[in-house]
C-alpha cells in the first residue's frame, strides 16, 4: 500500500471517478428515483484531458461545470460503446429511460470540450444525450468529431422532452452537428461546421434558433422527418444566422 505518482493521459480511465463525483451522497439516480431537490450537486471539472471509456451518467439536479478559463476535455476512448459520452437519461436494456423525459429537470453542462475523434466515424458515438425539460441548459461546450461523409456520429442527440435552453456551442464534423427533437427549445449562438447535416430537427412543437453559424455542411438544416404524410416538425424560427458553403440551407419535405 502506498501513494504513487501517475500521469493520467491515456493511462487511467477517468469515467468511473467522474461518475463517483456525480453519484456520491445517496443521490437521485436513474430508474430508481423519480425526482429529488434535496440532493443537488455542483460537479466541478478542473482543466485537463480526461479519458472517458464509459458514459458519464447524470443524476437528478446535477450541474457539471468545467473551468471556463481552460476548458477541460472529455476525450472519448476509441472503445467507448455508449449511446453518448454524457448521458442525461440512459436507456436500460429493456428500453426504459432513466427518467420520463418531461421530468428531466434542473440539469446543466457548462464549459466543456468533448472530443469524439478517437472513435471510428462509422462506429456509433454521440457527445451528449439530452432528452431534457425545464431548468436545463448546455452552455459553452465544444464538440469535436471527425469529418467523414459516412460518419454516424452526432454532437448532441435529443429525441424527447420539454426543454429548454442551449447556447454558445461549437460543433464540428460528424453526420449531425445536432440531431434533436423536443416540444420546444430556445437555442442561440451555435456554430456548426463540417457535418453532413448541420441540424436535424427530428420533431418539435416550436423551436427558436437565434445566431446560427453553419458552414461547410451538405445540408444546414433538415426537417424532412415524417415526409409529406406526417410532418413531425411543427415550427422552426431561425433568425440572425449565417449559412456558408452548404448547398442546401433548409431541407423540407
Amino acid at each position: 500500500m502506498g501513494l504513487t505518482l501517475v500521469e493520467g493521459d491515456g493511462v487511467a480511465d477517468d469515467s468511473d471517478a467522474i461518475n463517483r463525483a456525480i453519484s456520491d451522497g445517496n443521490r437521485c439516480g436513474p430508474w430508481v428515483c423519480d425526482s429529488a431537490t434535496d440532493s443537488p450537486a455542483v460537479v466541478y471539472v478542473p482543466a485537463g484531458t480526461y479519458r472517458i471509456a464509459k458514459p458519464i451518467i447524470f443524476y437528478y439536479m446535477t450541474q457539471l461545470i468545467g473551468n471556463p478559463n481552460s476548458r477541460p476535455i472529455f476525450k472519448a476512448d476509441a472503445n467507448l460503446e455508449a449511446l453518448a459520452l454524457i448521458d442525461a437519461s440512459p436507456y436500460r436494456n429493456d428500453g426504459k429511460p432513466g427518467w420520463t423525459s418531461t421530468n428531466l429537470f434542473v440539469r446543466s453542462i457548462r464549459n466543456l470540450v468533448i472530443d469524439l475523434t478517437a472513435r471510428n466515424p462509422r462506429s456509433g458515438a454521440q457527445g451528449i444525450h439530452w432528452p431534457a425539460s425545464q431548468a436545463t441548459t448546455i452552455q459553452n461546450v465544444q464538440i469535436k468529431m471527425t469529418k467523414d461523409a459516412n460518419s454516424v456520429h452526432a454532437g448532441i442527440f435529443v429525441e424527447n422532452g420539454s426543454g429548454g435552453h442551449m447556447a454558445d456551442l461549437d460543433i464540428s464534423g460528424g453526420l449531425y452537428g445536432m440531431n434533436i427533437g423536443n416540444q420546444q427549445f430556445t437555442i442561440r449562438n451555435v456554430k456548426i461546421s463540417n457535418a453532413v447535416i448541420g441540424i436535424s430537427q427530428i420533431w418539435n412543437w416550436g423551436w427558436l434558433y437565434q445566431g446560427l453559424t453553419i458552414s461547410d455542411c451538405g445540408t444546414a438544416f433538415s426537417m424532412i422527418n415524417g415526409g409529406t404524410g406526417k410532418q413531425e416538425v411543427g415550427s422552426v424560427v431561425i433568425i440572425d444566422s449565417q449559412i456558408t458553403n452548404c448547398p442546401t440551407f433548409v431541407d423540407t419535405v
Partner: protein, 161 residues
C-alpha cells in the same frame, strides 16, 4: 480527500498545490499533512523536483497496479534522502537534479495551482448546505472530480495497495 472508494484503507491523498514543468524536470509542490512519504519531519509542505524521465512509463514500467509500489518506494527514498537539502528560495533552475528538494512554508505564489486557472466558482469559500437533505452537514453540494480519483492529463497521486 477521503472516501470509501479509496483502495487499501488509505484515508487521505496529498494534493498538488502547484506545479511547473521545465524542459527536463517537473517541480511539484505537495500539501500533504498526513502523507507518510513526506510528513516525517515537521514540514507541512514539500516540493519535489522530479526529472521528466522519472515518470514510470518513460522508465519502461507498465502502468499496472502491481508495480506501482516501486514508484512509491522510490519517491519515499527520494524524500527521505534529500530532506537535508533544504533551500530557502523557491527558484528552481533548469537542469536541477533529482537530489534537489525544496521544503518551505507555503507562500502565496506557491499556493497558486498552475494547472487549473483561477475561477470564482471553484475558488470561493463553500459555505452553503443542502438544507433539506437528510444529512445537511455531511452532504457535499460542491464536488471536484479530482477528489474522487479523476486524474486528467496532469500528474496526480493515487493510492494503491
Amino acid at each position: 480527500m477521503s472516501g470509501k472508494w479509496l483502495p487499501g484503507g488509505c484515508s487521505s491523498l496529498p494534493s498538488i498545490q502547484w506545479q511547473r514543468r521545465y524542459k527536463h524536470s517537473t517541480l511539484l509542490v505537495l500539501l500533504s499533512p498526513s502523507n507518510p512519504l513526506l510528513s516525517a519531519g515537521t514540514f507541512p509542505l514539500a516540493a519535489l523536483v522530479l526529472p521528466r524521465a522519472y515518470l514510470p512509463h518513460t522508465l519502461g514500467f507498465k502502468h499496472t497496479f502491481e508495480n506501482m509500489w516501486l514508484h512509491s518506494l522510490t519517491l519515499c527514498l527520494l524524500a527521505v534522502s534529500t530532506r537535508q537539502a533544504v533551500a530557502q528560495d523557491n527558484t528552481v533552475p533548469q537542469g536541477t537534479t533529482l537530489t534537489t528538494v525544496v521544503i518551505s512554508e507555503p507562500t502565496s505564489d506557491l499556493r497558486a495551482d498552475a494547472t487549473d486557472p483561477p475561477y470564482w466558482l471553484k475558488d470561493i469559500q463553500k459555505q452553503g448546505i443542502a438544507a433539506f437533505n437528510p444529512n445537511p452537514q455531511g452532504y457535499k453540494v460542491f464536488r471536484n472530480v479530482k477528489d474522487y480519483g479523476a486524474i486528467g492529463k496532469f500528474l496526480a497521486w493515487i493510492c494503491v495497495k
